[in-house]
Symmetry: C2
Subunit: 368 residues, 2 copies
């Protein structure tokens, strides 16, 4: 049974002060159904990805909220795995299709983060860490440990880290949905404020509002296919990890993804990876196998991860420049790559969605 | 492909001030694996049900938290649909099994509610309603509307409502895991404090801590079978409902459940239904089809829903007397009925788990 992406839609990402969470969900649901050119009643089930509306707005039960947009009230569920919620919702949706229960389902992710202060958003995001063993840690501080480990072990430099943000901001220039349309230089990143040494402000993905949706179907269509997915976990706390210079769950997820397909890593032309902080893009392109361990920073600095290089990483601008409304991100990655395939810009693409500091990783392989 | 419940475990429910959420999850995970007599490494995926640890403890990412208990870190997800989270996690787990991805998975639900004040817990629970259209409504007030509608339309009396709590407290007397071991009289309930007229204190399920777990497998075993499940939604807000005197999602879910099985409603000997407030047990036994519409209250008062009657409703004591740690409830219902079948006390049982005021309903049919 093949799973196709019948349609995809991404709202504008950014500081959307005139839109509520419900507005964003409604826009994404309405527009993706319009793009798919199906009746709303053809949606048999709804999988909602969201991380924080409980904490941020005391609103849970988002499955039912989205189901309420439809006169026939399809069965619905909310799926959460921190910043990997979007990828996870797609996994749950695919399992429902492969179980034979449904033929066409909606996967929708959204997050509304800018209605609270930066400190409240930072505290909220720390809910993805281990509350008993990493209490008080912010995510910049946790990723600072990973950054230091990579710099010490592999000689990754400040310029290499900065090259991630520079490239992603450049990519975002042509993505009208992106939060930022502003080119950066290596010096801009190098000289931005220190957040948690060695992480600087322009290493960090922003606080964002946004939503994204895809419609998955097992019906016959020429739409892009989800060839396979990988879903892996690792210890919630960094203290229990064997290594701080790679994410084991990324390795496990890509291994699952590639194990039952004729597609090779070299066939992948573009990938949306989880660059919540600069180091995580470098970890991703190494752990996914696109570049040798320890060479991800150098590859980025030498423009091997942009147009004209070995593979285009984060054509959307990534979490850094397109924005990171956390529950939406995994769905947006799928929507963005699916659209590139639909537009014949690429034949094979990949998405890589990380929860927390790598305790949940979802990888999807997509092709024409 | 048949889905069996290889083992089940329920922690003590109650005000467990010496146990954290993590303690409860760990106890349930450890004990259910011990009961199943399998190696932890045989658990291929984990489905965690929880409603509120984000709001109550700023802890999300519980999938990864539970996965971290296992040396092999199985892929994990958290599923949320308000108080129906437990039933929903079982649905997602079954879909994963039927998709062919896994053969044996863990479904685990937990909630830790007593570390906050009653008003904070009440506010948290209101997150299951529509935050833009029912803002400020507490769940007792929403269910008070449903209670009034049923009383007005069908002449359901105060004594009939009270009979639900009296019967459930009596059932809980022999359930060592139950939160309350105290028999009530109709007068006790009738004279308890008004919470939201006509709902009184002893119509309300309590604020509880607790966890429950089941292991589902498609491998050959003599364990109890999940014959079918129904998963239905309705409008999130009561204002959009066609009727306030029944829950359409319960009707839809039982209809799905019974559509592909030779088992008849009359074969069902016991059912755990979602008696968050007295009226909801009456709605449930009518909407599930055990009693004619409007006759649920009378049936309860005339002891048709206890031992010696037509069907035993809530042998565990239900949400009212066994307790209602919201994310655990749906899993506890399955664990309780599964154990009755395993102990040869019944051949066929049913569980009925409601989210919010009926916007999500999950029904499971279990048999020997």
């Amino acid at each position: 049974m093949k799973i196709k992406i019948l349609a995809e839609y991404i709202t504008k990402f950014g500081e959307l002060w005139d839109k509520s969470l419900s507005d964003l969900l409604k826009e994404a649901a309405t527009e993706v159904i319009s793009k798919a050119d199906i009746k709303p009643s053809e949606i048999e089930a709804v999988f909602v990805a969201n991380m924080g509306s409980g904490i941020l707005e005391n609103q849970l039960h988002l499955g039912a909220l989205v189901s309420s947009f439809f006169p026939h009230h399809p069965p619905a569920v909310r799926v959460e795995g921190a910043c990997a919620s979007g990828g996870l919702a797609s996994v749950m949706a695919q399992q429902s299709l492969l179980s034979g229960r449904y033929k066409t389902v909606l996967v929708i992710g959204a997050e509304k983060m800018t209605d609270v202060s930066t400190s409240a958003a930072t505290k909220f995001l720390s809910s993805a860490a281990d509350y008993t063993r990493e209490y008080g840690s912010t995510f910049p501080s946790l990723y600072a440990l990973l950054t230091q480990a990579h710099m010490q072990k592999y000689g990754t430099t400040r310029d290499m880290l900065s090259a991630v943000s520079v490239k992603n901001h450049r990519h975002a220039m042509k993505n009208i949905k992106a939060q930022f349309h502003r080119e950066l230089t290596i010096n801009d990143v190098n000289n931005s404020e220190v957040i948690a040494n060695p992480i600087r402000l322009l290493d960090c993905s922003p606080i964002s509002d946004g939503a994204a949706a895809i419609i998955l179907t097992t019906k016959q269509t020429n739409s892009p296919e989800i060839v396979s997915y990988g879903h892996a976990s690792d210890s919630l706390t960094l203290a229990d990890r064997k290594s701080l210079s790679s994410l084991q769950a990324t390795k496990d997820a890509i291994s699952q993804c590639m194990s039952n397909t004729k597609i090779k890593l070299n066939d992948i032309q573009m990938a949306e990876v989880h660059d919540c902080f600069s180091v995580n893009e470098i970890l991703a392109i190494e752990d996914l196998g696109f570049f040798k361990k320890g060479h991800g920073g150098e590859a980025t600095l030498s423009e091997q991860t942009t147009y004209g290089g070995k593979i285009v990483i984060n054509p959307s601008g990534g979490l850094k420049a397109c924005g990171h409304p956390v529950g939406a991100t995994g769905v947006k990655q799928l929507a963005f790559i699916s659209n590139l395939i639909r537009q014949d810009e690429i034949n094979v693409g990949l998405t890589h969605n990380v929860g927390g500091s790598g305790a949940t990783v979802i990888v999807h392989l997509l092709s024409k």
